[in-house]
Structure formats: C-alpha cells, structure tokens
Amino acid sequence: MTGNVLRALEAVTAERAGTALLSVRGLTVRFRLSGGRTVDAVSDADLDLVPGECLALVGESGCGKSVLASALLGLLPANAETTGTALLAGPDGTGPTDLLAAGEKTLARTVRGRRVGLVPQSPAAHLTPVRTVRAHLEETVRALTGVPRRERRARAEEAAERAAFPATHLDRHPHELSGGLAQRAATALALIGDARLLLADEPTTGLDRDLVDRTADELRRHVDEGRALLLITHDLAAAERIADRVAVMYAGRIVETAPAHRFFGPAGPRHPYARGLLDALPERAFTPIPGMPPELTALPDGCAFAPRCPRATDLCGTRPEPRAAVACHHPEHPRA
C-alpha cells in the first residue's frame, strides 16, 4: 500500500476522532492473579464511535470483548489495571470525560445510565425477580431524572413504549416474561436516562432467530434516532443485520476494523482470523478455524493468531502493527 493511501486513511481516522461521541485510544486491561500471573484481557484497543453509528465488536468467547465494555463503565473488579484513554464527548459542547480516569462518584452520578446506557447480557438475570417491570421503570425514572412523583407513572409508560414493551405486561414480574420481552424491558431501562451512547453486551444470546432479528432491529432504530451503539456480540448474523462498521477482536487485540458492507460483502475482511470466523458460518464454508485461541495469561510476543494461521511465516514472530486498520503481516487481498 502506498504512503499516500495510508496518510489518507489516517486523515479519515483523525476526522472521525474529531466528531466522535466515544474515542478510545490504547485501552489496555490486565488482571493480576495470585502467583504473579497476569491476564492480558484487552491490549492497546483503539476505536471511535460517532452519533448515529453502530459499531459491532465481534470475536470468539473469552477474547476480551465484555471486559472492554466493563472498562468503559468502570465496572471491572479491583484486581484490574486499566491504562489508555476513553473520551466520551460532553453534553452540549462541554468538555469530554475520560471514562478510564473518572472516579466512581462521577461514573455513578453522571455517566452510567445518563450518558452511557447498558443493554445487558441475559436480561432475566439483570432484572430484580421480586419486582414488576413497572416498578423497575419508575425507580429508574426517579433515580435518573428530576421528574416529580405524580408524573413518574406516565414517564415509565413512555419509556416502555419507546422500547416496544407492551403496556399490558407492565405489571408482570421478570419470570412471567418471555426472553424477548425481558430483553425489551432491559432496553427500556437503558433508554430512560436518554444516554447518547448505548453499550449492548451480547443482547441476543440464547434468543431464537426471529427474536434476534427483532432485538437487533429495535437497537438499530435507536441508532437511527441519533444514538451511538457499541454492539458486543459473537453473533455475526446480528452484526451483519445492523452494524455500520465491524471491529474484530482476537486474544484481547482489535485485529481489524472494516465497514460492514465490505466485511460481509464480496470483498470480505483482510485479516486471516476474520476470514476464518466468516468461513465457519453454516451458510458459508462451515469449516472451523483449526486449534483454539491462546490463553490470555500466556500470550506470545508476536501475532497471537500465528499458531492457527494458514499464512503465518517467521515474520509473524514479531507483533504486527495496525496498517490501514488491519493488524497482520500477511493480510489477504480483497476477494472482489
């Protein structure tokens, strides 16, 4: 690739960072374990997210995707060490907040629920089993907004409607809801604070295909209203359905970022791991990537994918730096 093209790509990246709602640079998360071992859960992750955009973060389970989301919300356990920056643009032109440097008080009082909404994995476990959906919604309205008591009921009903949760089911308890309705209840809660950034952590796991499509489409609707969505998923079909861009994570590193139409289209991704993931789909070659991901406690110095990679050479013993949004010494050429 010529220097000019690279410079042009960098300029695009810089412009994106300028208008970004969320701009993450060099995010690294390590866990210290007993016995002096460390888990390199996330290494040097960069990503940008602009309003009205959905970025899907995809990868095998255990690759560090959920840790990245938890880091952005300050929800990591005490033995985690986080470095890097994650700038969240301030409301109405105020200065950005670095989510990684902000204290618990700032995160609890101004960020979680208000500026960043979390659509959780397994909503059934996220909801309080002894309380109705209405009680959840009214409590969240009280905690996040200054709405007077007599208007809370109406506001809770509005919130349910925005997430397409049926008013007839508001007085039900979580165990009386289907998986899809529990998901909508959790989404309604995430939307109450009117956060411009939504984080959805595996929102479709365990749902059947129709429900996956409906849940994904509902999330997309919130993006089209001007929110930014970071969709963390291993479900490539859900990502293809609603994402504008795709970031592929492997062993804690983002190895490729690509526009969704190129990633899923005839051109295809360029990183051999990303190609392998797509080729594993039953509607494609249905062939697994040989081997398994490395342990995050013992990552190799070079490319972590090299032991499973058909294109690996001696060069892969050194770590590939990202070039044109692909971190690979031997990226594949576009198929079309």
Binding site: P282, F286, M292
Partner: protein, 223 residues
C-alpha cells in the same frame, strides 16, 4: 430405529407441554428438530434421551420398547444414548477436572480401567489439549467446556446422540468445530443424531433432514 409415537409430556400432568408428538429416526440418520423457544422440543429431546418420563405414548429404541426412564432404565439402553445440553456450565460438575468429567460415564458403568485410554483418544477429536484436561470448569471458557461435554457424551460410544441446542451459546468457529467432531464420530460408528435447535441455517447444513416441531405434533407423516 428411534421411534417416538403419541408422546405426551410435561411437568404437570393436568397441563402437559405437548400432546401426541411423533418422530422417527432411521438407524444412523441425522435429523434436525426445529422450533421456537418454549415449544417443548427440548422436553421431547429429554424423553428421547431417557431423561424424562412421558405421561403417555410409546418409545421404541432399536426394537426395544422403553418402559423405564432415568436411573430405572436398564444400563444397556441408557448408555446407548449420549446427550449434550445447551448450557455446559449447568451440565458439568465444578469439582471435576475436564479429564474426570469425560471419564465419568466410564467410571459410573464400572469401566474405569478404560478411562485414561478413552480420554486420550477423545480429547484430540474435540480439540482439547492435555493442559486443558487438567483444569476444572471455572478455568475454561464456555466453548472449551462444551467440547468436554461432547467428549463425555461420546465416551461410552453411544448408538444415538441427542444434541439439545448444543451450540446456541457458542461462536461460529467453535460451533463448526463441534459439529465437525460429531460428524467424525458418526462417520466412524454409524451413530444416529437428533439435533434440536432454532437455527434453521445451521440444522439444514448439518443434518440429513430437518423436521418442524409443528409437524411432529399434528402427527403429520414426516417420512
């Protein structure tokens, strides 16, 4: 042959989950059973795996009519069917290493002496390394644990394998690897497969044929 006929089953006799379900698998055949969540297809899979006693109906496995379920079923019938569930976490004893987990059916049937050799045979076919075999469930990922659960289901060389949403929690590459392991086992032994799930694309690619849950219920002829 695996023949389920007129099966009514559920968790409350007055309100069964379904009535009169039928499903037939020829020897060595692989069938995908498709249905939405909550329809009762997993309950039928549990009946087929001898894990749930139906309220009514007839189940004939390789010519023998099943009259007892769970621990009451004769050993030679119980061990003819291997099962893999959706959630490996709730299907694995957290105290056992993966090697012991895979060997448990052999030990439980008085064949502990074969365990070491059988585990060594099975582990590479499901992609588990010796290092992983020495770990306990909390120290492995869902995908790695499900690989061990598949190896456990294969350890007694069952003639039938029941996979109930085996890959619903897993990523595409692990899904393809587990399906390949099942198919390698079937190619070597001629075992039949009932794969239950809601992923049409996956089951149509994987199985000889697929059956809709609603066609099992109407008693419609699926052959």
């Amino acid at each position: 042959m695996l023949e389920l006929n007129g099966i009514t089953a559920g968790y409350d006799r007055r309100a069964p989950v379904f009535r009169g379900a039928r499903l037939t698998l020829a020897p060595g055949e692989s069938v995908g059973l498709l249905g939405p969540s909550g329809c009762g297809k997993s309950t039928l899979a549990r009946v087929a795996a001898l894990l749930h006693r139906p309220d009514a109906g007839r189940y004939v496995l390789d010519g023998t009519e099943i009259r007892a379920w769970r621990h009451r079923a004769p050993r030679e019938l119980r061990t003819a069917v291997g099962v893999v569930f959706q959630q490996p976490r709730t299907a694995a004893d957290p105290r056992l290493t993966l090697a012991d987990l895979i060997a448990e059916p052999l030990r439980a049937t008085g064949r502990g002496a074969e365990a070491a050799a059988r585990v060594a045979d099975l582990a590479p076919t499901v992609g588990l390394t010796p290092e992983l075999l020495s770990r306990r469930p909390h120290a492995v990922s869902d995908g790695q644990l499900q690989r061990a659960c598949l190896a456990r289901a294969l350890s007694l060389r069952p003639r039938w394998l029941i996979c109930d949403e085996m890959t619903a929690m897993l990523d595409a590459s692990t899904t393809a690897a587990l399906v390949a392991a099942v198919e390698t086992y079937r190619a070597g032994t001629g075992a039949g497969l009932l794969a239950v799930g809601h992923d049409r694309v996956l089951l149509e690619r994987w199985c000889d044929r697929t059956v809709e849950w609603k066609d099992c219920l109407t008693g419609g002829d699926e052959r």
